[in-house]
């Protein structure tokens, strides 16, 4: 009995050692891949950072209003954020590549999924960036037009446009990522409806002056002195 136990233990130990010896080179390969990946990702981060600085990406981000949002959330600058994002995506990609060398079947599928997910992540990021850009531009254009036309509630109009465009960009990004499509559809549908209802109520209560002004201008019943108080500039 004792001999049997000893032989089983020895056999188990030998298998463990054999298995470890079998995996050790793969583990070393994985670590090497991860290290090279870190090095590559770090260099890529430096490259991206300097490219963004040369192309004055921060100015674009500032004009889109993204810098303001990042400052409010106490996050690093947009250039730093994008370079860090590139670093982590590249390094995680290499780590997963290294893990796949280990040959763990259960992980293979997830790794493959991650690599298939990368292009979609890239597209979603682009969508969010251009969405932020469009939201910033359109909301500022609306704000300037409203202020120069002396409309009240200019800020409300501008913020509403920013929110609507941002929601639209966010919903598109989620759709590209394929994350809980149905839930997102219902969520954004409800949110959009709620915003529209809120705006309608806000306009009805707070913007009655604005509506009156518009109608007066449209049908020419505005007070005469208000028409005459613009001086000829040229």
């Amino acid at each position: 009995m004792r001999e049997i136990i000893e032989s089983e233990l020895i056999q188990a130990w030998q298998e463990l050692v054999r298995g470890f010896a079998h995996y050790l080179p793969r583990l070393i390969v994985m670590l090497i891949v991860a290290f090279i990946g870190w090095l590559f990702a770090y260099l890529l981060k430096l490259l991206v950072r300097s490219t963004l600085r040369v192309t004055k990406f921060s100015r674009l981000s500032e004009s889109a209003g993204a810098t303001q949002l990042l400052n409010q959330a106490a996050l690093p600058s947009s250039t730093e954020l994008v370079s860090r994002f590139v670093f982590w995506v590249a390094w995680i990609g290499f780590i997963l590549l290294g893990v796949s060398v280990l040959g763990i079947v259960a992980l293979q599928e997830y790794i493959a999924r991650f690599f298939l997910f990368l292009p979609r992540l890239f597209v979603a990021t682009l969508l969010l960036f251009f969405g932020a850009l469009a939201a910033g531009f359109l909301s500022r254009a609306a704000l300037l037009a409203a202020v120069n036309a002396n409309l009240r509630s200019s800020r409300l109009l501008s913020i509403s446009i920013r929110i609507i465009v941002s929601i639209f960009a966010l919903s598109m990004a989620f759709e590209v990522l394929g994350i809980a499509e149905q839930t997102m559809l219902i969520f954004f549908g409800t949110l959009f409806g709620a915003i529209m209802l809120g705006l309608a109520i806000a306009f009805g209560i707070g913007g009655k002056d604005l509506a009156r002004e518009y109608l007066e201008r449209r049908f020419g019943t505005a007070k005469k002195d208000e028409k005459e108080d613009e001086l000829s500039p040229l």
């Binding site: 531009f137 500022r140 300037l144 120069n148 200019s154 005459e228 108080d229 001086l231 000829s232 040229l234």
Partner: protein
């Protein structure tokens, strides 16, 4: 030059019929049937009286009028003028018209007229606004003589205006052009002016016609081209400027775009020409100055103040990317003042304008947004000008404008600093 694409075949045929001329009178129009007839009569009378021996053509560049304006121009009979003035032209006075676009583009109209003048080898070209209801036949002589007889290349007008008209010209366009380019041209954006054939040819070869500014703000470019090209420039007193027929908020935004936008744009292009200029020199001026009229203009001052204060408050995020923190904080302080204590000093106004010009150069945000953001501040400056000169005489107003110009000249190093180093 792309005259073959700019000028239609029909227009070229008309120009060939006319042949070489000495003088071109340009009339850019768009739905001006209410005012155009007396303007054409004054032009005809001016030509008959002062240039009866010269070969002259009136060219109407129309931007898609729907009210028969071109027909009025080409159909205006010279017989009435003959009988009234008892002077007869020794040459045929041609009147031709072309439609350059379906919608009005002042720059394209100017280009069309100058291209025609270039083709017809005109020695002088004078442009007259179709809305100049105060025009006298003598204006033609005053504008053309310096080019035709004294070899000047650009003749800019000087008007007498109603007391509070032309505020953008007095508070921004004149002081800034003077400080930047060093020439005291009071009307850098003129609706009436004369140019020599050689300046017209040079101006047509400039690379601006494909830009938006070439289409909407070419008048400013003409002035800066004359200055930077060291052409001979002078000014003549014309008379009273016709008051604006309608005024609205959208007019101010559009006016800012085509004047201030174009002026800021020229700064980029001509940096090497203006960065070393200090001070300014007077421009030869002729004619009899006339006093400003002190006709009461109804202005709701409280509303102007409110529009300024609302603009400063609402546009704070926009101003933060354009103005220096110190300038913005001064504006915010001013926005809290009531009308009776409201003051927008020339020093602060000059700094504001220069910081806007530098922001435009650096494109800190969309350039059109920068121009639009200046509108509420211009309203604030207009109110301050109004309050400063409420009981002022002609001399007082001139002194006030002169002090604004001095501030712009004094603060030019500030512009250069933020232009080069950023804010």
């Amino acid at each position: 030059m792309a005259e073959e694409t700019l000028l239609t075949d029909e227009f070229l045929r008309q120009l060939m019929t006319v042949g070489e001329v000495d003088i071109v009178v340009g009339l850019p129009t768009h739905n001006n049937s209410r005012t155009i007839a007396p303007v054409v009569r004054a032009i005809q009378a001016g030509i008959l009286k002062c240039f009866p021996r010269e070969r002259v053509v009136i060219i109407n560049a129309d931007g898609g009028s729907q009210d028969g304006t071109p027909e009025i121009v080409t159909g205006a009979s010279i017989d009435d003028v003959w009988s009234a003035s008892k002077v007869y032209a020794l040459r045929t006075l041609h009147s031709i018209s072309t439609r350059y676009a379906r919608t009005p583009e002042p720059g394209t109209a100017l280009r069309t007229i100058l291209a025609a003048a270039d083709l017809l080898r005109a020695r002088a070209c004078v442009l007259i606004s179709p809305e100049s209801t105060t025009i006298e036949p003598e204006w033609i002589q005053r504008l053309l003589r310096p080019v035709y007889n004294d070899s000047f290349d650009l003749v800019a007008p000087l008007y007498c205006r109603e007391k509070f008209e032309g505020l953008l010209m007095r508070n921004l366009l004149y002081p800034m052009t003077r400080a930047i380019y060093g020439y005291r041209i009071h009307e850098p954006y003129a609706s009436e002016f004369a140019v020599s054939g050689r300046l017209a040819t040079d101006f047509l070869s400039q690379e601006l016609w494909n830009d938006e500014w070439g289409r909407i703000g070419a008048e400013i470019f003409l002035t800066t081209t004359a200055i930077t090209g060291q052409y001979r420039v002078c000014q003549v007193f014309l008379g009273p400027k016709a008051p604006a027929t309608h005024r609205s908020a959208s007019d101010i935004v559009a006016a800012m775009r085509r004047t201030v936008g174009a002026l800021f744009f020229t700064l980029d292009k001509n940096f090497s020409d203006w960065n070393t200029i200090t001070g300014s020199q007077p421009v030869p001026t002729s004619g009899d100055p006339c006093d400003v009229t002190s006709e009461m203009v109804r202005v709701n001052r409280k509303r102007l103040r409110d529009m300024f204060a609302t603009g400063v408050a609402q546009l704070e995020p926009v101003f933060r990317s354009i103005l220096l923190p110190s300038t913005l904080s001064e504006l915010q302080k001013m926005a809290s003042f009531e009308v009776r204590e409201f003051k927008y000093s020339a020093d602060l106004w000059a700094r504001t304008t220069f910081e806007f010009a530098a922001a435009y150069h650096k494109s800190v945000i969309n350039r059109d947004h920068i121009i639009q953001a200046l509108v509420p501040l211009y309203r604030g400056r207009s109110l301050a000008f109004l309050l400063e000169n409420r009981d002022g005489s002609n001399d007082d107003i001139e002194k006030n404008v002169e002090s604004v110009c001095s501030e712009f000249e004094r603060l030019k190093p500030h512009l250069l600093e933020i232009w080069v180093n950023g804010k």
